[in-house]
Symmetry: C2
Subunit: 319 residues, 2 copies
Protein backbone atom coordinates (compact mmCIF):
# COMPACT_ATOMS: atom_id res chain seq x y z
CA UNK A 1 0.00 0.00 0.00
CA UNK A 2 1.37 3.38 -1.00
CA UNK A 3 -0.28 5.35 1.77
CA UNK A 4 0.58 3.42 4.91
CA UNK A 5 1.35 5.50 7.96
CA UNK A 6 3.96 5.61 10.71
CA UNK A 7 3.32 6.38 14.36
CA UNK A 8 5.97 8.09 16.49
CA UNK A 9 5.87 8.13 20.30
CA UNK A 10 8.19 10.38 22.31
CA UNK A 11 8.02 9.31 25.94
CA UNK A 12 9.34 11.82 28.47
CA UNK A 13 9.18 12.29 32.21
CA UNK A 14 6.29 14.79 32.12
CA UNK A 15 4.51 14.25 28.80
CA UNK A 16 4.27 11.61 26.14
CA UNK A 17 3.92 12.97 22.61
CA UNK A 18 2.35 11.09 19.73
CA UNK A 19 2.25 11.73 16.00
CA UNK A 20 0.92 9.99 12.91
CA UNK A 21 3.14 10.58 9.88
CA UNK A 22 3.25 9.67 6.22
CA UNK A 23 6.05 7.38 5.06
CA UNK A 24 7.79 10.55 3.88
CA UNK A 25 7.81 11.89 7.43
CA UNK A 26 5.10 14.54 7.14
CA UNK A 27 3.21 14.91 10.40
CA UNK A 28 -0.56 14.46 9.88
CA UNK A 29 -1.83 14.25 13.45
CA UNK A 30 -0.28 15.15 16.79
CA UNK A 31 -1.43 14.78 20.37
CA UNK A 32 0.04 14.25 23.81
CA UNK A 33 -0.82 12.90 27.25
CA UNK A 34 0.64 13.44 30.69
CA UNK A 35 3.11 10.83 31.85
CA UNK A 36 1.92 9.24 35.07
CA UNK A 37 5.04 7.98 36.82
CA UNK A 38 3.22 6.82 39.99
CA UNK A 39 3.36 3.19 41.13
CA UNK A 40 6.83 2.61 39.67
CA UNK A 41 5.70 3.86 36.28
CA UNK A 42 3.33 0.93 35.91
CA UNK A 43 0.61 3.10 34.31
CA UNK A 44 2.81 4.40 31.51
CA UNK A 45 2.53 1.60 28.97
CA UNK A 46 -1.21 0.97 29.58
CA UNK A 47 -1.84 4.74 29.20
CA UNK A 48 0.11 4.76 25.90
CA UNK A 49 -1.85 1.78 24.61
CA UNK A 50 -5.18 3.35 25.57
CA UNK A 51 -4.26 6.64 23.93
CA UNK A 52 -3.21 4.89 20.70
CA UNK A 53 -6.46 2.89 20.65
CA UNK A 54 -8.58 5.99 21.32
CA UNK A 55 -6.92 7.91 18.50
CA UNK A 56 -7.12 5.09 15.99
CA UNK A 57 -10.86 5.02 16.67
CA UNK A 58 -11.07 8.82 16.45
CA UNK A 59 -9.30 8.87 13.08
CA UNK A 60 -11.13 5.77 11.87
CA UNK A 61 -7.87 3.85 11.39
CA UNK A 62 -6.81 0.25 12.05
CA UNK A 63 -3.56 -1.65 12.54
CA UNK A 64 -3.51 -2.39 8.80
CA UNK A 65 -3.07 1.34 8.11
CA UNK A 66 0.37 1.34 9.79
CA UNK A 67 3.84 0.14 8.88
CA UNK A 68 4.66 0.34 12.54
CA UNK A 69 5.02 2.32 15.76
CA UNK A 70 8.40 3.70 16.86
CA UNK A 71 9.14 5.03 20.33
CA UNK A 72 11.90 7.00 22.00
CA UNK A 73 12.36 6.67 25.75
CA UNK A 74 14.77 7.63 28.53
CA UNK A 75 16.79 4.81 30.08
CA UNK A 76 18.88 1.96 28.77
CA UNK A 77 17.16 0.41 25.80
CA UNK A 78 17.72 -2.96 24.19
CA UNK A 79 16.35 -2.28 20.70
CA UNK A 80 16.49 -5.93 19.64
CA UNK A 81 14.52 -7.14 22.68
CA UNK A 82 12.35 -4.03 22.87
CA UNK A 83 13.06 -3.59 26.58
CA UNK A 84 13.96 -0.63 28.82
CA UNK A 85 15.65 -0.47 32.21
CA UNK A 86 16.92 2.30 34.46
CA UNK A 87 14.70 5.15 33.26
CA UNK A 88 14.70 6.96 36.57
CA UNK A 89 12.59 9.96 35.53
CA UNK A 90 9.86 7.45 34.63
CA UNK A 91 10.31 5.51 37.87
CA UNK A 92 11.21 2.51 35.71
CA UNK A 93 13.80 0.77 37.87
CA UNK A 94 13.08 -2.79 36.79
CA UNK A 95 12.97 -4.23 33.28
CA UNK A 96 10.03 -2.99 31.17
CA UNK A 97 8.62 -4.67 28.07
CA UNK A 98 7.02 -1.97 25.90
CA UNK A 99 7.50 -3.89 22.62
CA UNK A 100 5.83 -7.03 23.86
CA UNK A 101 2.93 -5.19 25.47
CA UNK A 102 2.24 -2.61 22.77
CA UNK A 103 2.48 -5.14 19.92
CA UNK A 104 0.13 -7.51 21.74
CA UNK A 105 -2.43 -4.77 22.38
CA UNK A 106 -2.35 -2.98 19.03
CA UNK A 107 -1.23 -5.65 16.56
CA UNK A 108 1.18 -3.10 15.06
CA UNK A 109 4.95 -3.80 14.74
CA UNK A 110 6.87 -1.79 17.32
CA UNK A 111 10.46 -0.51 17.49
CA UNK A 112 12.20 1.39 20.28
CA UNK A 113 15.43 3.24 21.01
CA UNK A 114 16.62 5.78 23.52
CA UNK A 115 15.47 9.38 23.27
CA UNK A 116 18.66 11.01 22.04
CA UNK A 117 19.24 8.29 19.43
CA UNK A 118 15.69 8.79 18.23
CA UNK A 119 16.12 12.58 18.09
CA UNK A 120 19.28 12.05 16.01
CA UNK A 121 17.31 9.86 13.61
CA UNK A 122 14.66 12.59 13.37
CA UNK A 123 17.21 15.30 12.57
CA UNK A 124 18.93 13.01 10.09
CA UNK A 125 15.69 12.26 8.28
CA UNK A 126 13.74 15.52 8.34
CA UNK A 127 15.94 18.12 10.05
CA UNK A 128 19.42 19.62 9.82
CA UNK A 129 20.96 16.25 8.93
CA UNK A 130 19.68 16.47 5.35
CA UNK A 131 19.32 12.67 5.04
CA UNK A 132 23.12 12.24 5.21
CA UNK A 133 24.43 8.80 6.18
CA UNK A 134 26.74 10.49 8.72
CA UNK A 135 24.96 12.66 11.29
CA UNK A 136 25.63 13.11 14.98
CA UNK A 137 23.25 15.05 17.21
CA UNK A 138 24.69 16.36 20.47
CA UNK A 139 21.88 17.42 22.81
CA UNK A 140 22.88 20.03 25.39
CA UNK A 141 20.30 19.88 28.16
CA UNK A 142 20.47 19.18 31.90
CA UNK A 143 23.05 16.61 30.83
CA UNK A 144 24.70 16.02 27.45
CA UNK A 145 24.05 13.04 25.21
CA UNK A 146 24.55 12.20 21.56
CA UNK A 147 22.89 10.06 18.94
CA UNK A 148 25.24 8.87 16.21
CA UNK A 149 24.27 7.80 12.71
CA UNK A 150 27.46 6.62 11.02
CA UNK A 151 27.78 5.07 7.58
CA UNK A 152 24.00 4.83 7.53
CA UNK A 153 23.34 3.05 10.81
CA UNK A 154 22.52 4.15 14.33
CA UNK A 155 25.39 3.21 16.65
CA UNK A 156 24.80 1.57 20.02
CA UNK A 157 28.12 0.00 20.96
CA UNK A 158 28.34 -3.24 22.90
CA UNK A 159 26.29 -2.06 25.89
CA UNK A 160 24.30 0.89 24.59
CA UNK A 161 26.83 3.53 25.68
CA UNK A 162 27.86 4.71 22.20
CA UNK A 163 27.32 8.47 22.17
CA UNK A 164 28.16 9.17 25.82
CA UNK A 165 29.74 12.43 24.68
CA UNK A 166 28.65 14.11 27.90
CA UNK A 167 31.26 11.97 29.65
CA UNK A 168 34.16 12.65 27.31
CA UNK A 169 36.92 14.04 29.51
CA UNK A 170 37.74 17.61 28.53
CA UNK A 171 39.53 18.68 31.74
CA UNK A 172 41.37 15.81 33.42
CA UNK A 173 41.39 17.52 36.82
CA UNK A 174 38.06 19.26 36.39
CA UNK A 175 34.77 19.18 38.26
CA UNK A 176 33.47 15.94 39.70
CA UNK A 177 30.65 14.51 37.57
CA UNK A 178 27.59 12.58 38.77
CA UNK A 179 29.10 9.61 36.90
CA UNK A 180 31.97 9.51 39.40
CA UNK A 181 34.82 10.75 37.25
CA UNK A 182 36.23 14.22 36.76
CA UNK A 183 36.16 16.75 33.95
CA UNK A 184 33.30 15.34 31.87
CA UNK A 185 32.01 17.62 29.11
CA UNK A 186 28.64 17.85 30.83
CA UNK A 187 30.20 19.23 34.04
CA UNK A 188 31.09 22.40 32.10
CA UNK A 189 28.78 22.59 29.07
CA UNK A 190 25.36 21.23 30.04
CA UNK A 191 22.78 23.71 31.40
CA UNK A 192 23.84 22.83 34.95
CA UNK A 193 27.54 22.75 34.00
CA UNK A 194 27.36 26.26 32.55
CA UNK A 195 25.90 27.57 35.82
CA UNK A 196 28.74 25.87 37.72
CA UNK A 197 31.36 27.49 35.48
CA UNK A 198 29.56 30.83 35.82
CA UNK A 199 29.51 30.75 39.63
CA UNK A 200 33.21 29.89 39.80
CA UNK A 201 34.27 32.53 37.30
CA UNK A 202 32.06 35.16 38.95
CA UNK A 203 33.83 34.59 42.25
CA UNK A 204 37.18 35.48 40.69
CA UNK A 205 35.84 38.37 38.62
CA UNK A 206 36.44 41.89 39.88
CA UNK A 207 35.00 44.09 37.10
CA UNK A 208 31.55 45.44 36.43
CA UNK A 209 28.99 42.82 35.43
CA UNK A 210 25.24 42.50 35.56
CA UNK A 211 25.62 38.73 35.82
CA UNK A 212 27.89 39.10 38.84
CA UNK A 213 25.34 41.49 40.34
CA UNK A 214 22.58 38.89 40.02
CA UNK A 215 24.76 36.32 41.75
CA UNK A 216 25.88 38.76 44.44
CA UNK A 217 22.20 39.49 45.11
CA UNK A 218 21.81 35.81 45.87
CA UNK A 219 19.48 35.19 42.93
CA UNK A 220 19.51 32.01 40.90
CA UNK A 221 20.95 32.02 37.42
CA UNK A 222 20.45 29.68 34.47
CA UNK A 223 22.45 28.96 31.34
CA UNK A 224 19.88 31.11 29.50
CA UNK A 225 20.65 34.10 31.75
CA UNK A 226 24.39 33.60 31.12
CA UNK A 227 23.85 33.62 27.35
CA UNK A 228 21.43 36.56 27.53
CA UNK A 229 23.95 38.61 29.51
CA UNK A 230 26.72 37.65 27.09
CA UNK A 231 24.66 38.70 24.09
CA UNK A 232 24.04 42.01 25.84
CA UNK A 233 27.83 42.48 26.10
CA UNK A 234 28.40 41.58 29.77
CA UNK A 235 32.15 40.94 30.00
CA UNK A 236 32.02 38.22 32.65
CA UNK A 237 29.25 36.41 30.76
CA UNK A 238 31.29 36.61 27.55
CA UNK A 239 34.26 35.03 29.34
CA UNK A 240 32.04 32.24 30.66
CA UNK A 241 30.54 31.59 27.23
CA UNK A 242 34.03 31.54 25.73
CA UNK A 243 35.17 28.93 28.23
CA UNK A 244 32.06 26.79 27.69
CA UNK A 245 32.54 26.99 23.92
CA UNK A 246 36.20 26.05 24.27
CA UNK A 247 35.19 22.83 26.02
CA UNK A 248 32.42 22.16 23.50
CA UNK A 249 34.87 22.73 20.64
CA UNK A 250 37.36 20.34 22.23
CA UNK A 251 34.78 17.63 22.95
CA UNK A 252 32.96 17.92 19.63
CA UNK A 253 36.28 18.26 17.79
CA UNK A 254 37.44 14.95 19.20
CA UNK A 255 34.11 13.37 18.30
CA UNK A 256 34.68 14.71 14.77
CA UNK A 257 38.20 13.27 14.65
CA UNK A 258 36.85 9.85 15.61
CA UNK A 259 33.66 9.74 13.50
CA UNK A 260 33.98 12.34 10.71
CA UNK A 261 30.22 12.95 10.44
CA UNK A 262 28.97 15.14 7.61
CA UNK A 263 26.77 17.09 10.02
CA UNK A 264 27.52 17.51 13.70
CA UNK A 265 24.33 18.99 15.10
CA UNK A 266 23.93 20.91 18.33
CA UNK A 267 20.48 20.60 19.89
CA UNK A 268 18.84 20.60 23.31
CA UNK A 269 17.80 23.53 25.47
CA UNK A 270 21.22 25.22 25.56
CA UNK A 271 21.21 25.41 21.74
CA UNK A 272 18.46 28.06 22.00
CA UNK A 273 21.45 30.45 22.15
CA UNK A 274 21.61 29.80 18.40
CA UNK A 275 24.29 31.28 16.16
CA UNK A 276 25.80 33.15 19.10
CA UNK A 277 26.71 29.73 20.51
CA UNK A 278 27.44 28.05 17.18
CA UNK A 279 30.02 30.55 15.89
CA UNK A 280 31.94 30.41 19.17
CA UNK A 281 31.97 26.60 19.25
CA UNK A 282 33.02 26.58 15.58
CA UNK A 283 36.13 28.62 16.41
CA UNK A 284 37.40 26.01 18.85
CA UNK A 285 36.13 23.09 16.78
CA UNK A 286 38.36 24.34 13.95
CA UNK A 287 41.28 24.55 16.37
CA UNK A 288 40.86 20.98 17.58
CA UNK A 289 40.10 19.06 14.37
CA UNK A 290 42.27 17.27 11.85
CA UNK A 291 42.24 19.21 8.53
CA UNK A 292 40.13 16.71 6.57
CA UNK A 293 37.59 16.66 9.40
CA UNK A 294 37.60 20.47 9.64
CA UNK A 295 36.85 20.63 5.92
CA UNK A 296 34.20 17.94 5.68
CA UNK A 297 32.39 17.87 9.07
CA UNK A 298 29.90 20.72 9.34
CA UNK A 299 28.68 22.07 12.67
CA UNK A 300 25.02 23.07 12.59
CA UNK A 301 22.14 23.82 14.91
CA UNK A 302 19.45 21.16 15.11
CA UNK A 303 16.21 22.39 13.55
CA UNK A 304 13.33 20.12 14.59
CA UNK A 305 13.18 21.16 18.24
CA UNK A 306 10.28 19.49 20.04
CA UNK A 307 9.23 17.34 17.09
CA UNK A 308 12.60 15.58 16.61
CA UNK A 309 11.42 12.91 19.05
CA UNK A 310 8.18 11.87 17.35
CA UNK A 311 9.68 12.17 13.86
CA UNK A 312 12.75 10.14 14.76
CA UNK A 313 10.64 7.59 16.63
CA UNK A 314 8.46 7.19 13.55
CA UNK A 315 11.57 6.68 11.44
CA UNK A 316 12.32 3.52 13.44
CA UNK A 317 9.08 2.08 12.04
CA UNK A 318 9.86 2.75 8.39
CA UNK A 319 9.46 -0.36 6.21
CA UNK B 1 30.55 -24.12 -3.73
CA UNK B 2 31.57 -24.94 -0.21
CA UNK B 3 35.29 -24.69 -0.76
CA UNK B 4 35.73 -21.35 -2.50
CA UNK B 5 38.74 -19.32 -1.47
CA UNK B 6 39.51 -15.71 -0.53
CA UNK B 7 42.61 -13.79 -1.50
CA UNK B 8 44.00 -11.07 0.75
CA UNK B 9 46.52 -8.46 -0.43
CA UNK B 10 48.32 -6.21 2.06
CA UNK B 11 50.03 -3.44 0.10
CA UNK B 12 52.76 -1.54 1.95
CA UNK B 13 55.53 0.87 1.04
CA UNK B 14 58.26 -1.79 0.97
CA UNK B 15 56.51 -5.14 0.45
CA UNK B 16 53.19 -6.40 -0.77
CA UNK B 17 51.95 -9.50 1.05
CA UNK B 18 49.50 -12.00 -0.42
CA UNK B 19 47.56 -14.88 1.08
CA UNK B 20 45.00 -17.41 -0.06
CA UNK B 21 42.52 -18.28 2.68
CA UNK B 22 39.53 -20.51 3.22
CA UNK B 23 36.16 -18.86 3.75
CA UNK B 24 36.76 -19.51 7.45
CA UNK B 25 39.89 -17.37 7.36
CA UNK B 26 42.52 -20.11 7.57
CA UNK B 27 45.64 -19.13 5.62
CA UNK B 28 46.55 -21.80 3.05
CA UNK B 29 49.22 -20.05 1.00
CA UNK B 30 51.33 -16.96 1.64
CA UNK B 31 53.86 -15.06 -0.46
CA UNK B 32 55.13 -11.53 -0.91
CA UNK B 33 56.80 -9.27 -3.46
CA UNK B 34 58.78 -6.06 -3.18
CA UNK B 35 56.80 -2.89 -3.76
CA UNK B 36 58.35 -0.94 -6.63
CA UNK B 37 57.39 2.68 -6.05
CA UNK B 38 59.42 4.08 -8.99
CA UNK B 39 57.72 6.02 -11.81
CA UNK B 40 55.00 7.39 -9.53
CA UNK B 41 54.10 3.92 -8.35
CA UNK B 42 52.90 2.95 -11.82
CA UNK B 43 54.42 -0.55 -11.56
CA UNK B 44 52.55 -1.46 -8.39
CA UNK B 45 49.22 -2.62 -9.78
CA UNK B 46 50.74 -4.44 -12.80
CA UNK B 47 53.17 -6.21 -10.43
CA UNK B 48 50.29 -7.26 -8.18
CA UNK B 49 48.31 -8.58 -11.15
CA UNK B 50 51.32 -10.51 -12.49
CA UNK B 51 52.01 -12.04 -9.09
CA UNK B 52 48.38 -13.12 -8.66
CA UNK B 53 48.35 -14.68 -12.12
CA UNK B 54 51.66 -16.48 -11.53
CA UNK B 55 50.44 -17.95 -8.28
CA UNK B 56 47.07 -19.03 -9.63
CA UNK B 57 48.99 -20.94 -12.30
CA UNK B 58 51.39 -22.33 -9.70
CA UNK B 59 48.54 -23.58 -7.50
CA UNK B 60 46.51 -24.71 -10.48
CA UNK B 61 43.62 -22.39 -9.59
CA UNK B 62 41.29 -20.20 -11.65
CA UNK B 63 39.04 -17.19 -11.05
CA UNK B 64 36.17 -19.58 -10.41
CA UNK B 65 37.94 -20.86 -7.30
CA UNK B 66 37.60 -17.46 -5.57
CA UNK B 67 34.83 -15.51 -3.91
CA UNK B 68 36.97 -12.44 -4.35
CA UNK B 69 40.17 -10.53 -3.69
CA UNK B 70 40.40 -7.96 -0.88
CA UNK B 71 43.20 -5.42 -0.51
CA UNK B 72 44.43 -3.04 2.16
CA UNK B 73 46.44 0.00 1.09
CA UNK B 74 47.84 3.23 2.49
CA UNK B 75 46.22 6.45 1.31
CA UNK B 76 42.67 7.72 1.05
CA UNK B 77 40.46 4.94 -0.24
CA UNK B 78 37.00 5.17 -1.78
CA UNK B 79 35.75 1.62 -1.12
CA UNK B 80 32.66 2.04 -3.30
CA UNK B 81 34.62 3.25 -6.31
CA UNK B 82 37.66 1.07 -5.59
CA UNK B 83 40.04 4.01 -5.94
CA UNK B 84 43.02 5.32 -3.95
CA UNK B 85 44.62 8.77 -3.78
CA UNK B 86 47.35 10.37 -1.70
CA UNK B 87 49.31 7.24 -0.77
CA UNK B 88 52.63 9.06 -0.48
CA UNK B 89 54.76 6.09 0.60
CA UNK B 90 53.66 4.39 -2.65
CA UNK B 91 54.29 7.55 -4.73
CA UNK B 92 50.59 7.49 -5.58
CA UNK B 93 49.80 11.18 -5.79
CA UNK B 94 47.10 11.00 -8.46
CA UNK B 95 43.94 8.88 -8.48
CA UNK B 96 44.60 5.14 -8.84
CA UNK B 97 42.10 2.52 -10.00
CA UNK B 98 43.10 -0.83 -8.48
CA UNK B 99 39.57 -2.28 -8.51
CA UNK B 100 38.97 -1.58 -12.18
CA UNK B 101 42.40 -2.86 -13.25
CA UNK B 102 42.61 -5.95 -11.05
CA UNK B 103 39.05 -7.08 -11.81
CA UNK B 104 39.64 -6.63 -15.55
CA UNK B 105 42.88 -8.63 -15.48
CA UNK B 106 41.84 -11.45 -13.14
CA UNK B 107 38.09 -11.71 -13.56
CA UNK B 108 37.79 -11.93 -9.76
CA UNK B 109 35.57 -9.50 -7.73
CA UNK B 110 37.75 -7.02 -5.86
CA UNK B 111 37.24 -4.95 -2.70
CA UNK B 112 39.57 -2.42 -1.09
CA UNK B 113 39.92 -0.35 2.07
CA UNK B 114 42.70 1.44 3.89
CA UNK B 115 45.35 -0.51 5.77
CA UNK B 116 44.31 0.22 9.33
CA UNK B 117 40.63 -0.45 8.58
CA UNK B 118 41.62 -3.74 7.01
CA UNK B 119 43.81 -4.67 9.98
CA UNK B 120 40.85 -3.94 12.29
CA UNK B 121 38.69 -6.27 10.19
CA UNK B 122 41.38 -8.93 10.48
CA UNK B 123 41.59 -8.64 14.27
CA UNK B 124 37.79 -8.60 14.50
CA UNK B 125 37.48 -11.76 12.45
CA UNK B 126 40.42 -13.92 13.46
CA UNK B 127 42.30 -12.05 16.19
CA UNK B 128 41.70 -10.42 19.56
CA UNK B 129 38.31 -9.06 18.44
CA UNK B 130 36.68 -12.48 18.82
CA UNK B 131 34.15 -11.80 16.01
CA UNK B 132 32.44 -9.11 18.12
CA UNK B 133 30.32 -6.57 16.24
CA UNK B 134 32.09 -3.81 18.18
CA UNK B 135 35.88 -3.77 17.78
CA UNK B 136 38.26 -0.85 17.44
CA UNK B 137 41.94 -1.40 16.60
CA UNK B 138 44.30 1.45 17.48
CA UNK B 139 47.63 0.98 15.71
CA UNK B 140 50.57 2.67 17.44
CA UNK B 141 53.31 3.01 14.84
CA UNK B 142 55.19 5.96 13.36
CA UNK B 143 51.78 7.61 13.51
CA UNK B 144 48.56 6.47 15.15
CA UNK B 145 45.46 5.35 13.31
CA UNK B 146 42.36 3.35 14.11
CA UNK B 147 39.96 1.06 12.32
CA UNK B 148 36.49 0.98 13.81
CA UNK B 149 33.94 -1.80 13.49
CA UNK B 150 30.79 -0.57 15.21
CA UNK B 151 27.43 -2.35 15.35
CA UNK B 152 28.79 -4.76 12.75
CA UNK B 153 30.02 -2.35 10.11
CA UNK B 154 33.36 -0.71 9.30
CA UNK B 155 33.05 3.05 9.79
CA UNK B 156 34.39 5.52 7.25
CA UNK B 157 32.61 8.80 8.00
CA UNK B 158 31.69 11.24 5.28
CA UNK B 159 35.21 11.68 3.90
CA UNK B 160 37.10 8.62 5.08
CA UNK B 161 38.46 10.24 8.25
CA UNK B 162 36.58 8.13 10.78
CA UNK B 163 39.22 6.65 13.08
CA UNK B 164 41.68 9.56 13.05
CA UNK B 165 42.38 8.84 16.69
CA UNK B 166 45.99 9.93 16.21
CA UNK B 167 44.66 13.45 15.88
CA UNK B 168 42.41 13.48 18.92
CA UNK B 169 43.59 16.41 21.02
CA UNK B 170 44.94 15.21 24.37
CA UNK B 171 46.95 18.32 25.31
CA UNK B 172 45.42 21.53 23.97
CA UNK B 173 48.69 23.46 24.19
CA UNK B 174 50.91 20.51 23.38
CA UNK B 175 53.41 19.70 20.65
CA UNK B 176 52.77 20.84 17.09
CA UNK B 177 51.65 17.91 14.91
CA UNK B 178 52.43 17.34 11.22
CA UNK B 179 48.68 17.86 10.66
CA UNK B 180 49.05 21.51 11.67
CA UNK B 181 47.32 21.47 15.03
CA UNK B 182 48.65 21.03 18.54
CA UNK B 183 48.52 18.27 21.10
CA UNK B 184 47.41 15.36 18.89
CA UNK B 185 47.66 11.91 20.50
CA UNK B 186 50.30 10.87 17.98
CA UNK B 187 52.61 13.73 19.01
CA UNK B 188 53.05 12.03 22.39
CA UNK B 189 52.18 8.34 21.95
CA UNK B 190 53.35 7.22 18.50
CA UNK B 191 56.85 5.79 18.18
CA UNK B 192 58.15 9.23 17.19
CA UNK B 193 55.97 10.99 19.77
CA UNK B 194 57.36 8.82 22.58
CA UNK B 195 60.89 9.80 21.59
CA UNK B 196 59.86 13.47 21.65
CA UNK B 197 58.39 13.12 25.15
CA UNK B 198 61.52 11.22 26.24
CA UNK B 199 63.91 13.91 25.01
CA UNK B 200 61.96 16.67 26.75
CA UNK B 201 61.63 14.82 30.03
CA UNK B 202 65.30 13.80 29.98
CA UNK B 203 66.33 17.44 29.73
CA UNK B 204 64.52 18.25 32.97
CA UNK B 205 65.60 15.08 34.76
CA UNK B 206 68.41 15.34 37.27
CA UNK B 207 68.66 11.79 38.67
CA UNK B 208 70.54 8.72 37.62
CA UNK B 209 69.25 7.12 34.41
CA UNK B 210 70.69 4.88 31.73
CA UNK B 211 68.24 6.40 29.25
CA UNK B 212 69.48 9.89 30.06
CA UNK B 213 73.05 8.60 29.68
CA UNK B 214 72.29 7.35 26.15
CA UNK B 215 70.84 10.72 25.22
CA UNK B 216 73.65 12.66 26.85
CA UNK B 217 76.10 10.56 24.80
CA UNK B 218 74.37 11.91 21.70
CA UNK B 219 73.04 8.50 20.66
CA UNK B 220 69.66 7.99 19.06
CA UNK B 221 66.84 6.46 21.04
CA UNK B 222 63.66 4.73 19.98
CA UNK B 223 60.35 4.00 21.68
CA UNK B 224 61.62 0.43 22.09
CA UNK B 225 64.68 1.66 24.03
CA UNK B 226 62.41 3.76 26.26
CA UNK B 227 60.22 0.74 27.07
CA UNK B 228 63.24 -1.56 27.51
CA UNK B 229 64.79 0.88 30.00
CA UNK B 230 61.46 1.24 31.82
CA UNK B 231 61.07 -2.52 32.13
CA UNK B 232 64.61 -2.64 33.57
CA UNK B 233 63.51 -0.15 36.24
CA UNK B 234 65.05 3.08 34.87
CA UNK B 235 63.25 5.85 36.78
CA UNK B 236 63.25 8.41 33.98
CA UNK B 237 62.00 5.83 31.49
CA UNK B 238 59.23 4.83 33.90
CA UNK B 239 58.15 8.46 34.17
CA UNK B 240 58.09 8.75 30.37
CA UNK B 241 56.07 5.57 29.98
CA UNK B 242 53.64 6.78 32.63
CA UNK B 243 53.11 10.05 30.77
CA UNK B 244 52.64 8.26 27.42
CA UNK B 245 50.16 5.84 28.99
CA UNK B 246 48.29 8.75 30.58
CA UNK B 247 47.74 10.27 27.14
CA UNK B 248 46.81 6.89 25.64
CA UNK B 249 44.35 6.29 28.46
CA UNK B 250 42.80 9.72 27.91
CA UNK B 251 42.55 9.35 24.12
CA UNK B 252 41.36 5.75 24.14
CA UNK B 253 39.05 6.49 27.07
CA UNK B 254 37.33 9.21 25.06
CA UNK B 255 37.08 6.89 22.08
CA UNK B 256 35.47 4.37 24.43
CA UNK B 257 33.01 6.98 25.74
CA UNK B 258 31.96 7.78 22.17
CA UNK B 259 31.84 4.26 20.66
CA UNK B 260 31.60 1.75 23.53
CA UNK B 261 33.36 -1.05 21.63
CA UNK B 262 33.46 -4.49 23.21
CA UNK B 263 37.18 -4.79 22.46
CA UNK B 264 39.51 -1.83 22.13
CA UNK B 265 42.68 -3.34 20.70
CA UNK B 266 46.17 -1.87 20.83
CA UNK B 267 48.37 -2.90 17.93
CA UNK B 268 51.25 -1.58 15.85
CA UNK B 269 54.98 -1.56 16.62
CA UNK B 270 54.70 0.20 19.98
CA UNK B 271 52.38 -2.54 21.24
CA UNK B 272 55.37 -4.90 21.29
CA UNK B 273 55.79 -3.57 24.84
CA UNK B 274 52.91 -5.92 25.60
CA UNK B 275 51.32 -6.20 29.04
CA UNK B 276 53.79 -3.70 30.45
CA UNK B 277 52.12 -1.11 28.20
CA UNK B 278 48.60 -2.50 28.48
CA UNK B 279 48.33 -2.48 32.29
CA UNK B 280 49.56 1.13 32.44
CA UNK B 281 47.13 2.30 29.74
CA UNK B 282 44.33 0.41 31.52
CA UNK B 283 44.91 2.41 34.71
CA UNK B 284 44.26 5.71 32.94
CA UNK B 285 41.56 4.28 30.68
CA UNK B 286 39.65 3.37 33.84
CA UNK B 287 40.14 6.90 35.15
CA UNK B 288 38.77 8.53 31.99
CA UNK B 289 35.79 6.33 31.13
CA UNK B 290 32.12 6.47 32.01
CA UNK B 291 31.24 3.55 34.35
CA UNK B 292 29.23 1.54 31.81
CA UNK B 293 32.07 1.89 29.30
CA UNK B 294 34.67 0.97 31.91
CA UNK B 295 32.68 -2.18 32.65
CA UNK B 296 31.90 -3.29 29.11
CA UNK B 297 34.75 -2.05 26.90
CA UNK B 298 37.80 -4.30 27.23
CA UNK B 299 41.32 -3.14 26.40
CA UNK B 300 43.41 -5.85 24.77
CA UNK B 301 46.58 -6.29 22.76
CA UNK B 302 46.09 -7.12 19.09
CA UNK B 303 47.21 -10.66 18.33
CA UNK B 304 47.58 -11.13 14.57
CA UNK B 305 50.66 -8.96 14.10
CA UNK B 306 51.91 -9.09 10.52
CA UNK B 307 49.07 -11.23 9.21
CA UNK B 308 46.25 -8.86 10.29
CA UNK B 309 46.57 -7.13 6.90
CA UNK B 310 46.10 -10.13 4.61
CA UNK B 311 43.44 -11.71 6.84
CA UNK B 312 41.46 -8.48 7.10
CA UNK B 313 41.85 -7.80 3.39
CA UNK B 314 40.52 -11.27 2.63
CA UNK B 315 37.56 -10.58 4.92
CA UNK B 316 36.48 -7.78 2.57
CA UNK B 317 35.98 -10.43 -0.10
CA UNK B 318 33.72 -12.67 1.96
CA UNK B 319 30.49 -13.59 0.19
Amino acid sequence: MADKKLMGVDLGGTTCKFAILTEDGEIQQRWSIDTNILDEGSHIIPDIIASIQDHLKLYNMTAADFDGIGMGTPGTVDPAQGTVIGAYNLNWKTMQYPKREIEAATGIPFAIDNDVNVAAMGEQWKGAGDKSDNVTLVALGTGIGAGIVSDGILLHGVAGSAGEVGHVTVEPNGYMCTCGKRGCLETVASATGIVHVARDMAEEYAGDSKLKQILDDGDDISSKIVFDCAQAGDKLALMIVDKVCYYLGLGLGNLGNILNPEYLLIGGGVSAAGDFLLTRVQKYFDQFTFPNVRNTTHLRLATLGNTAGVVGAASLARP
